[in-house]
Symmetry: D2
């Protein structure tokens, strides 16, 4: 009985490490996995899941508007898959989350999604909202704020080292950096109430 999992966290908690270890566990037992991550450019299928701790793996990519149920069905023509892993799942579209739910329910393949819960403004990502609504199991990948408390929020730091309060949810190619914080320190940093 397959399930749809959402492993959520803030930035730099080690989500990709958890994904790569779980995929490794299947492959070590001789079972194949199908790993996907978000693709932000035109090159189809050339992605990487990489972890800050020094491990990585090739991955297929999902892109805007793609039908992931059809994509998985096509992949299954090449042979059985014991588990599907989706990195950067905050970038899934709502329809794509439903397509993955149908993979679970109708094709009986477990789908494990890893992604951010909220962006630097404290707002849910679209993919995260859909996963938080539909996931069969939700598990937190934890990390810590500089104060030692659990970090659940993230700030986007501008070039001058101060936290940005507005801007696009996704920023590609900029020179911002992200820092994970507990809610109280996030509120201090962005001046929230």
């Amino acid at each position: 009985m397959a399930k749809l999992y959402f492993h959520y966290s803030t930035m730099n908690a080690g989500k990709s490490t958890v994904l790569l270890q779980a995929s490794y566990n299947y492959r070590e037992r001789g079972m194949d996995t199908y790993v996907m991550t978000a693709g932000f450019d035109d090159r189809a299928g050339t992605g990487t899941v990489a972890s800050r701790i020094g491990i990585s793996s090739d991955a297929d990519t999902f892109t805007s508007g793609e039908d992931l149920f059809a994509k998985v069905e096509k992949r299954l023509l090449d042979g059985p898959v014991a588990c599907i892993f989706i990195d950067e799942s905050q970038f899934l579209e709502k329809d794509q989350v439903w397509q993955l739910a149908r993979v679970v329910d109708d094709l009986n393949v477990p789908v494990m999604c890893y992604g951010l819960r909220v962006d630097f403004r404290g707002e849910l990502f679209p993919g995260s909202a859909a996963l938080l609504a539909l996931a069969d199991e939700m598990r937190e990948v934890r990390t810590i704020c500089h104060c030692g408390k659990k970090a659940t929020m993230v700030v986007r730091m501008g070039p001058d080292g101060t936290a940005l309060k507005e801007g696009a949810q996704v920023q590609i190619g900029g020179n911002e950096t992200y820092v994970s914080l507990c809610r109280r320190h996030w509120r201090d940093a962005v001046g929230h109430q």
Copy 2:
């Protein structure tokens, strides 16, 4: 170190029972709790948290537009509160969830919210979306579909016994009934893909 908790589930899982037992545990130890539930009419402060299994408790109510940080601060003038419990928390407004987060962070009082994750159309409630974004800990209150699998969805049944597919998220005073289902049986019932 107080936290904001979200105990989520679908209908008829026993959320109110869990809330009442947790509040009872505090009071049995001589610590006071502050219980609130959603108020849908004009009578301020006259609410009840009741469980199908046969236990209930008086409760204060929260209503649209109310500042819950101020409401808690006012309540604290009457004496200390060890824990705040919010039933029907899917009806909280986003601002109210932030106000409760500030109760946790700034007043150091734990807040335990109990509510539905999705409505009968499979959409997040506003309060649930905000709690899924901000809660420090999320815990599922489980129940089962007629097939024995975990139920995570709910259908609203019309007077003729068929599942409704559209309508207002909140329906008061109608004669609909709600049935909790697993995702696959929910999809069958509402004709979703």
Copy 3:
């Protein structure tokens, strides 16, 4: 795919309430459950699961040396059971926990056990040790110490109001009372290190 669950906690957390609500959820859907609790006397089959909050249910009893696999098989002759609930499961014998594991694996009926983790001396109960070794899923039923922290330990108070440090693990018919505490306050009460 059935599982063996262990819902553990210290005294007075509301384990029986959680059990009764879960059993109620099944019965409300028209599925039968089989509820057992520990029997300490000679009267077979006359037990009660009762919660301090004011709800209760009749229950069958399990006793020392009984084969619970055979007992469940016998019960199934009277009709199907969607879930088996065991209260006071700290009193199960190790062999009985294995028998329940076989009920799960071979008869495909889920078994939900509710019990204490440690006794007043901080030692595992035999049934809890076996369940902590074998359970497929472990979930904590939480309660609080008088200091507001989570309670995980319990003291047995003698008639003079001081914590007992030695004695039988199970005391029936005495006039001791039990108080749940966090580990630090338990250590203070019993003079542990």
Copy 4:
């Protein structure tokens, strides 16, 4: 408010990866950690935490009879520690688990233990029994059986490829291999009931 954590699993689930990632998260934020693993020989302090996926770290070692409270106090003379990590914690002695509980309660340093739940005979390890009794939070590191279900048991395979049923709990320097299985396949492999 520090806590004692027990991350339990069967063999080859990736416990060491989870440990190394968590320690990395602290160090990346400029906070020091203290990593220990079981030492089985006479060379003090020369250990390694290594993961099958290809990451590793030097570690101090704990050995039989050592006072871990004193060991941590000594370490703290060299500077503050934000979190203590213990690999192979199934080999802790019961007294050592209590010493770590005192580190948590009295020195306010969180301690995260990673270890096996049961040995190849299905019996709790001493360290695991003590941690399952005393841990403030228990989290499972999951892996899968060859059948795709969660593995919770482990078999020790002899040189001839059959599962061993008896023998010492700890075997050093032999040429056995370990395979993680679900309970049903473990029972088949070892001929249990």
